[in-house]
């Protein structure tokens, strides 16, 4: 056990506990706020793993933008104290599927990589930047196109419901 292992275990426990609370909390806004903790904890995990750039982007994009959007959507779609979870039988089935997913995925990944200690030798930020604008430049440009399309689509979809509402 190195100090990195201990640090990762601590941050990972926070992430996992917040994720559990985010999917089980009955109060919708609290679930969204626990998602903030969980994704922020995940950024900490990336930091412990030595991927600083990914950690910062995760913090900026997820915690800064996506979760704020989710929180606004949760506040805008509040329609009284309706039930937010499915029936208990359905939830037990979902828990079984989730546990099966965890066991299968965890078993396969740990079997592939093993428990023995390895050196953390990821690429540096400079190298990542060179690769994004070198090898991966066309996927990168396509992604900017995708973001533009998503923006236009979101505005179109959201305002379509609006105009129909006004006509009614």
């Amino acid at each position: 056990m190195t100090s990195r292992d201990v640090l990762f275990a601590a941050v990972g426990l926070i992430t996992a506990a917040a994720a559990v609370l985010a999917v089980t909390n009955r109060r919708v806004l609290h679930a969204g706020l626990w998602l903030v903790v969980s994704l922020g904890g995940l950024a900490g995990c990336y930091l412990v793993l030595g991927a600083e750039l990914v950690a910062l982007v995760q913090l900026l994009v997820y915690v800064g933008a996506v979760v704020v959007l989710v929180l606004f959507a949760l506040m805008l779609t509040r329609s009284g104290g309706g039930e937010v979870d499915t029936s208990p039988a359905h939830r037990w089935l979902a828990a079984g599927v989730g546990a099966g997913m965890t066991v299968l995925l965890g078993g396969a990944l740990v079997a592939a990589y093993g428990w023995d200690t390895r050196e953390v030798a990821g690429p540096g930020n400079e190298h990542i930047g060179e690769e994004i604008f070198g090898t991966w430049v066309w996927p990168f440009e396509l992604l900017s196109l995708l973001l533009l399309a998503a923006l236009v689509t979101a505005v179109a979809v959201a305002t379509t419901g609006h105009s129909r509402d006004r006509a009614a």
Partner: protein, 116 residues
């Protein structure tokens, strides 16, 4: 450090995300489950990229791409959910598949005005 720890956390996050997708009726809360699934995918990519590096830095770069695609996906999904809320007045995923009948529109438009 041992790669098993982050990989087990990723497997746990994937299981929790699956539970969230299957056990939630509120559409936005179901999206939280999808976010956790994508987070698990990103954690696997970063872990593999850090422990067995390659010359193209695929692990980190692909995680950045996944984060970008997740942002685009959540924007469109929330727009669809907002349109659904305007026409139906609720975002319950176990509701009826057919939209509300035309004569019920005035009652729903009352809920729609609140959101403007």
């Amino acid at each position: 450090m041992s790669p098993a720890l982050p990989l087990l956390l990723a497997a746990f996050l994937a299981g929790i995300g699956t539970y969230g997708v299957l056990a939630r009726r509120h559409a936005v809360l179901m999206l939280i489950g999808i976010e956790l699934l994508l987070a698990a995918a990103g954690l696997i990519l970063v872990t593999v990229g850090q422990f067995s590096p390659d010359p193209h830095a695929s692990g980190a770069v692909l995680t950045l791409f996944v984060i970008t695609i997740a942002a685009a996906e959540i924007v469109v999904a929330l727009a669809v959910i907002m349109a659904m809320f305007r026409t139906r007045g609720e975002v319950d995923l176990t509701g009826e598949a057919q939209p509300a009948a035309p004569e019920e529109q005035p009652a729903n438009s009352g809920a729609g005005t609140v959101t403007r």
